[in-house]
């Protein structure tokens, strides 16, 4: 441990020594970045997609947040904070019309791209239009496809119209990073532009270099419009193995342990490490045991109810997850103002489970497995192969289910197979999966619960449990049109109540991620509303 301190001490001295040698003008500019130094973040997946609008995974967003800015960002408490916009458009301040159809956004002045070019409304127009450009391989179009008639009023004001009111759009804009029209707009093909591997943004850090398979390095952007950065350099190191990731955190090779973080069983040990701070960070993802509701076994609500009673959440959490995550009854993160926290807690009781099945006419057959109308209460359960905690959960659940005369067979698949058609086209019986239901901080869950989102039935969303309830459809459509929090709250309360009664999936717990950093790093503040903990490196500093 002493060795690590010395090494970091040397780095800081080195940086300070460097500052003294630099001419006064440059030194003045650098003085804004008090402290300096660098931070090395370990990730167990590799950031590869630098263009924030091309298809990417969560780890890539850890870089995007620091290279680029959206119009406004979402803070840890769920509030929006202006970034490239001067203020967050709302109905109250006239940024959004009463009917939700006309939008006007005032833009920050004096912002420059990393190449020195001023940022203007043209960049915003370009970014919004790029999302719907048929020639561009945009990742998601939800919301953006409703945007019409984008008008640049002047360099710092922009307006557009929406085809229909869409309440989640502010949350979508909070992850829509503005990209430079003067670079990407000039490219022959934005899908393959050089920009995609040497990105230029307005963020606190500019692109340094990426050594594929190894690391991504960003350098401080001295002319950043906002607060920070307080570091000279940030490095994201790719460490593919979880055990090795944690080991390198222990040895001090990395300053921050990010994505996938510390294995739960190491929490006690990690908290005992010298000069390390461990952060237990809630994430929006909810782990659930999901059903394919078109399977004959699961069409009977009694079966889903009984299995819920046979699911010993608390023991699973205590024993397999070391008591770290919190049990939940709903699909929204408990930090969300929309989360319904007074849902009835379904108690763990194998007797009750048996009773429900008996009443519903599921009687044990010769082999002890229950049968009704020729349907055996037997099914497979799948998840990502190699996920050892989930495999332990499966084995634990399997025993309790067997106790009540239900046969569950484990059939795990490699990730590429698991989350391909097998998942999207509902080819499974049941799955253990963690899903981030809300759209950013917005409670809209149409993509997962509206009956028009069942892709196995030709729908366009991700309602893979094939859940269909007309009342829920109605509520979701209404909620998606409303911009007033209180009115929406009542709607989503009802949605949560109905889903809790219908049980297309059994909610288990909300994720808690174990992250950690060296003592002395300030500003590390995981945000439940974004997917990655390196969303605010601009605010990090060494004490």
């Amino acid at each position: 441990m002493i060795g690590n301190l010395t090494r970091r001490g040397m780095l800081k001295t080195g940086a300070a020594g460097l500052t003294m040698m630099i001419s006064s003008g440059a030194a003045q500019r650098l003085s804004a970045q008090d402290g300096g130094g660098q931070v090395t973040i370990g990730f167990s997946q590799e950031p590869t997609v630098m263009n924030p609008h091309l298809p990417h995974i969560e780890v890539d967003e850890g870089i995007h947040f620091n290279l680029f800015d959206p119009l406004f960002t979402i803070r840890t408490d769920g509030s929006f904070q202006p970034a490239l916009a001067r203020e967050v458009p709302t109905v109250e301040n006239g940024g959004i019309s009463e009917d939700g159809l006309s939008w006007r956004v005032l833009l920050r002045e004096g912002v420059t791209w990393h190449d020195g070019t001023p940022f203007t409304a043209e960049d915003v127009k370009f970014t919004l239009e790029l999302q719907a450009d048929p020639a561009f391989n945009a990742m998601r179009r939800t919301g953006h496809e409703l945007v019409r008639n984008v008008q640049v009023v002047n360099d710092h004001e922009i307006t557009w119209e929406m085809e229909s009111p869409f309440a989640p759009y502010p949350s979508i804009l909070a992850w829509t990073f503005i990209v430079p029209a003067h670079i990407l707009g000039e490219a022959d093909d934005p899908n393959t532009a050089p920009f995609n591997n040497s990105p230029v943004g307005t963020g606190a850090f500019q692109f340094g270099e990426r050594v594929a398979g190894n690391y991504v390095m960003l350098e401080a952007y001295p002319d950043y419009w906002g607060e920070g950065p307080h570091l000279d350099r940030a490095i994201w190191r790719y460490i593919p193995d979880m055990t090795v990731l944690y080991t390198q955190f222990r040895t001090g090779d990395i300053d921050v342990i990010g994505l996938q973080g510390i294995p739960f069983d190491r929490l006690d040990q990690a908290e005992g490490l010298d000069d390390r701070e461990i952060v237990i960070a809630p994430a929006a993802t909810v782990e659930s045991f999901t059903f394919n509701m078109e399977r004959p076994q699961f069409k009977d609500p009694a079966v889903r109810q009984a299995l819920y009673h046979a699911l010993d959440k608390q023991t699973i959490i205590d024993a397999i997850y070391y008591g770290i995550p919190k049990p939940t009854e709903t699909f929204l993160p408990l930090q969300s103002p929309y989360a319904k926290t007074d849902l009835e807690t379904v108690e763990y009781s194998l007797d009750r489970a048996r009773e429900i099945l008996d009443e519903a006419g599921w009687v044990p057959g010769d082999d002890g497995i229950r049968v009704k109308d020729g349907v055996r209460l037997a099914f497979t359960n799948s998840t990502t192969a190699g996920n050892s905690v989930r495999e332990q959960t499966q084995q634990f659940v399997q025993q309790d289910f067997a106790d009540i005369g239900v046969e569950m067979t484990i059939s795990n698949l490699p990730p590429a197979v698991m989350w391909g058609e097998y998942w999207m086209q509902s080819q499974f019986d049941s799955v253990i999966v963690g899903i981030n239901f809300p759209t950013g901080a917005d409670p809209d869950v149409s993509n997962y619960l509206h009956s028009s989102s069942i892709s196995a039935q030709g729908g366009a969303g991700q309602n893979t449990w094939q859940y269909s309830n007309p009342r829920v459809d109605e509520l979701l459509e209404e909620g998606g049109r409303l911009f007033v929090t209180d009115e929406r709250k009542a709607i989503y309360d009802e949605v949560q109540q109905i889903v809790h009664d219908d049980l297309p999936f059994l909610p288990m717990f909300q994720y808690m991620n174990l992250r950690g950093h060296k003592t002395g790093l300030e500003g590390f503040d995981p945000n439940v509303n974004v997917r990655i903990e390196t969303w605010n490196v601009a605010e990090w500093r060494w004490a």
Partner: protein, 295 residues
């Protein structure tokens, strides 16, 4: 019979049991040790689970990570509080079965392809050997993982996958051996006397190529057990709750410093079993290889 001098090699392998090779094998101390070890392991795996007081599936989540020799837990308990000894022996059944079955399967495939290619020669031989070469061009791990994506990873599929990716060497060895035997007098004699292709291949050629096949097959068992462990390490192995030495080791790696016995016990089991097969293979090679008569 006197017209044609009997140039047959000493039916290596076929008459192995009464042969000088047998005596030579038993003089090979390591081979005997290997045979003894693997017999012991096999017996333990077959009988063990009945003798132990715990079932390998009994979960006692509150009593997990008990170190070896806690109460009646010979090797302690694992991350779910299951008896490690019971799991180890059950896993041994699975791993050894996978190893042996993969060996049988790949030996049969490799031998048939090698026999056909070696015996018939010509275009068939070229086609078969190019096909073999093409498979050899693939990194084995690619074939393993690509096939694993197709098939649901249960014990039988893992066996098939391992066999499908390890028959090529045997095919090559057999083809080379057969090619050199094909022109020998006893084969010519059989051909002249009107024996069928099948007769020549299976009654004349195969017994005489048995030595190298037996050696290669023994080593294939060793490798198959290791491959099963690797596939499990990469997360494509045999599914829980069925244990295999590979997935036990894979699950144990994250507890290496807190509960090292979880990794040590299956690690030692794999090493012992694989070493035994390697010893036996080495002994067989010495015993069946005529050249080892040389000083």
């Amino acid at each position: 019979m006197t017209a044609i001098p009997d140039t047959r090699p000493k039916m290596r392998g076929a008459r192995f049991l009464q042969s000088r090779g047998m005596r030579r094998f038993f003089r090979h101390k390591l081979a005997v040790l290997g045979l003894a070890m693997i017999t012991l392991i096999a017996v333990a795996c077959i009988v063990g689970p009945w003798l132990l007081p715990h079932d390998m599936l009994d979960i006692d989540i509150r009593g997990r990570f008990s170190p070896p020799l806690t109460d009646t837990y010979l090797f302690g308990t694992d991350e779910m509080g299951r008896d490690l000894a019971a799991r180890l022996f059950m896993a041994g059944r699975v791993s050894l079965m996978v190893g042996v079955a993969a060996m049988v399967l790949s030996t049969v495939v490799g031998t048939v392809i090698g026999l056909l290619a070696g015996h018939f020669g010509g275009a068939l031989s070229t086609a078969l050997m190019r096909f073999t070469d093409a498979f050899l061009c693939f990194p084995q791990i690619f074939l393993l993982l690509a096939l694993a994506a197709f098939l649901e990873p249960d014990a039988m599929m893992i066996t098939i996958i391992i066999a499908l990716t390890s028959w090529m060497e045997i095919a090559r060895i057999v083809a080379a051996e057969i090619r050199s035997l094909r022109e020998r007098d006893f084969v010519t004699a059989a051909r002249v006397s009107g024996a069928s292709h099948a007769w020549i291949m299976f009654r004349e050629l195969l017994p005489n190529a048995a030595g190298p096949i037996i050696v290669a097959a023994t080593l294939t068992v060793a490798r198959a057990i290791l491959i099963e462990a690797y596939v499990s390490f990469l997360g494509y192995g045999i599914q829980p709750p069925l244990p295999s030495w590979g997935n036990m080791l894979n699950n144990a790696q994250q507890y290496l410093d807190s509960a090292p016995w979880l990794a040590i016990v299956p690690g030692v089991a794999i090493t012992l079993a694989v070493t035994s097969f390697n010893f036996i293979g080495d002994g067989l090679r010495d015993a069946l290889d005529a050249r080892s008569d040389m000083p």
